[in-house]
């Protein structure tokens, strides 16, 4: 398996820049998810990697060998990149067996797909045509077809977008297992941050044509580089505060701060006394209690969204605390009713960005 390295990749359509200097390294054998709002250039990036389009500038290298650059260009059919487009794009005129064996040399086409179909759990369906398969089955055939040619890199373009919710979870599980078994270096494009967090080893956030952050799922969640990333990856409350040493003073009390090492390593102008910051508080970092006890702030419940295992509760802080609307995650069994007065306590260290 091979490492994929993207350097300073640019691509614009007319006057409209889509990719503006993408830098990304995908370690060999890892699954890296690229997330971003729709229109952020995710699919364009995949198409450049696959070799269907040429970048305006920049290089793409696999295992140290440049496949697209100033002087080099390896055409799509010689890149050994397995491409699984949205909806699978199975060849409608070919059987499952012929689809999977499509990229094999002629001699192996007749029976070269058996192992792979076994691996994706579709043995016995060789003679079916794509329209006779369910959405999840089609997706797995598309994956088997891409893996059949022993690719260096596998590209998945929103592979689960067309599946319904409960099918999506199980197919996602299957695909993950298959990719693990195949030990393939994989790039997955998705707009579903939940999918990215649960599936990938590393998650890269693409925004305005750039990778703004690439980290492990937990790093990305706990230490997003800015508010926008924080809001894109999961739910986020961002409130104002004043940073003083390793504590930040907020409407929710004086809170310990994490991520100091992150900040100091960047050699920011070192703390010259208190300064204003934005504070990230994830919904599960807040605990609800009865009002007025020992909680730092009080507020009133506006709305509670029940999700079975948990509830997401909107709480408006009291006027004495600035009146901001916060979202709080509580266990599903917790009894909350709109209008109720509650006390709020932050139970964890928080992340701050310079305001």
């Amino acid at each position: 398996m091979s490492e994929l390295q993207i350097t300073d990749l640019h691509k614009s359509y007319g006057a409209h820049p889509v990719l503006a200097g993408v830098e990304l390294t995908v370690p060999a054998g890892s699954l890296t998810a690229i997330v971003g709002p729709s229109g952020s250039g995710k699919t364009t990036l995949l198409r450049l990697l696959a070799g269907f389009q040429r970048p305006d500038r920049g290089t793409i290298a696999i295992a140290g060998r440049t496949i697209d650059g100033e002087r080099e260009f390896v055409p799509a059919e010689r890149r050994r990149i397995g491409y699984v487009p949205q909806e699978g794009a199975l060849f409608p005129h070919l059987t499952v067996q012929a689809n999977v064996a499509f990229g094999l040399p002629r001699a192996r086409r007749r029976n070269g797909a058996g192992d792979l179909l076994e691996m994706v759990g579709l043995a016995g369906l060789e003679r079916r045509y794509p329209h006779q398969l369910s959405g999840g089955q089609q997706q797995r055939v598309a994956l088997a077809r891409a893996l059949a040619v022993d690719p260096q890199i596998v590209l998945l373009d929103e592979p689960f977008a067309s599946l319904d919710a409960h099918l999506r979870a199980s197919v996602r599980e299957d695909v993950n297992t298959i990719l693990d078994k195949a030990d393939a270096t994989t790039v997955l494009v998705t707009h579903d941050q939940d999918e990215a967090l649960s599936l990938a080893d590393r998650v890269a956030v693409l925004r305005d044509g750039r990778i703004v952050q690439c980290a492990t799922p937990s790093d990305l969640y706990t230490r997003p580089v800015d508010q926008e990333v924080a809001r894109f990856i999961g739910k986020a409350n961002v409130i104002d505060g004043v940073l003083d040493g390793d504590h930040v003073q907020t409407q929710l009390g004086n809170l310990p701060v994490t991520g100091q090492e992150l900040r100091s390593s960047r050699k920011r102008p070192s703390s010259t006394g208190p300064r204003p910051v934005s504070v990230l508080i994830r919904p599960e970092q807040i605990e609800l209690g009865s009002a007025g006890e020992e909680s730092a702030a009080t507020g009133r419940i506006v709305r509670a969204g029940y999700h079975g295992h948990e509830s997401l509760v909107d709480v408006r802080l009291g006027p004495e605390h600035g009146g901001q609307l916060l979202v709080v995650r509580v266990p599903g069994g917790t009894h909350v009713s709109p209008g109720e007065r509650v006390g709020l306590t932050v139970c964890d260290a928080v992340l701050t960005w310079p305001a």
Partner: protein, 535 residues
Amino acid sequence: MARPVTAGQAERSATVGRMAPALRAQAPWRLLAISLAVALVLVLPLAFLLLQASDAGAGTIAHLIFRSLTATLLWNTVRLIVVVTLLCAIIGTVTAWLIERTSLPGRRFWAVLVVVPLAIPDFVVSFGWASLSTSVQGFRGAVLVMTLAVYPLVYLPVAASFRNADPGQEEVARSLGAGRLATFWRITIGQARGAILGGCLLVALVILAEYGAFEILGYQTFTTEIFTEFGISFNVPAASALSLVLVLLGLIVLSGEGLARGRGRVSRSGPLAQRIAERQRLGAWTPVALAGLGLLVGLALGVPVGAAVYWILESGRGYLTGVSLLDAGWHTALYSGIAAALTTLMALPVALLALRHSKRAYQLLERGTYLVLAMPGLVIALALSYFTERDANGFLYQSAPLLIIAYAILFFPLALVCVRASLAQAPPDLEAVARSLGQRRLAVLGRVTLPLIGPGLAAGFCLVFLSAVTELTATLILIPTGVQTLSTQFWAYEQNLAYGQAAPFALAIIVIAAVPSYVLGRFFDRLPSRAAFAR
């Protein structure tokens, strides 16, 4: 900037978005050049017609247009179009509804039978009726014959739209308190409105271009008058003037197409789950519906075929025309076959350009080729014939290639519809995947693209072949000297009132035309109607 990305490429990719063309590297200028050449050929007849008219002089032409004859012809043509189109709309829609949406017994059987009349040339239907009864003539005769000959043009698109319409909409309408009848009127017909209008436009265009049927019935329209002026009196200015009016009428009819498409935007909500609509129970009405369909098929199919068989039996075995039948059949098949292949090939680059490189100008070019529909075969043939004789020193005059070119121009839009529909079945994503699986461009073409669009190309071939076999007017004018096709030989006998000798040729045409019609029916049945009719 080392990478040569042209402005054109960038712009194209921008509009195409994620469907970026996989065959991009095949320089689009080459495709564009071929497409432009095709468009140029299609424009020839119109250019020749204008040349021909300008030879006569504007004053003469104006004088010839503004006279009472034109008014008479206009009245004859327009009232026929209005009445026949209306009748076809009713018959076609009701038939489609009965077959696609009700519990009518033997639906598959009827679905085949009601389309077969399309394979019978209008002039054969006309011959069948007129040879049996002298009372079938004039306006009433023309209404009867044309309605029976062309109602399938409405039936086919409407049936397809019924088949693909979302049954959920009817259910919602019922749940909102609309009764059966109100639901039918407001939803069912509403869904099919675009298809109905589209079919009606085709009917109107066919009537504008028809010659043989009206000649037999003694009904005077623009085409019969032009044919007389040009073919018998050699009055070129008069023929040119009337041709101009005829083409203008065609353009007016064609301009209704935008209307039909704008109204006909049928969308399904949600994924394309193929839900079958609950069929309406006919109950006590079943015998009435069966009798109606039986009558329709009897009149449209039974009478023409029956008449041909009757005249063969009547004439006994006195005139055995075996050799000339074979000879005419061979030439018919030869000319039609070459024309069908040529037309399909011509349509391919134009469709490719419009579908794979979505740029406004390319799509306009493609849509522009549909304007050929406004040019009746008679006008195309006369323009080509006049030009080659007068201005090209007789080059190609009365030669087989000229006849084939005329067919190719005349039937180009038919081939384009089929080729386009099949190309839409082969999304560029599939080619992209094939390439990423290590296949070179040529292999992709052979293993993915051609197998996918093959049926559509075959359908295009069949449609043009069928149309050329049943073509009479242009063939009469352009047929090489000393050669006869089935239709011209039929016409020669028919005009001499030698019905017994004409009849075998009529039957031969029907038999040859029936094969490609069957293939076509299968093709359009399998195609999602969105692709087939979303021009």
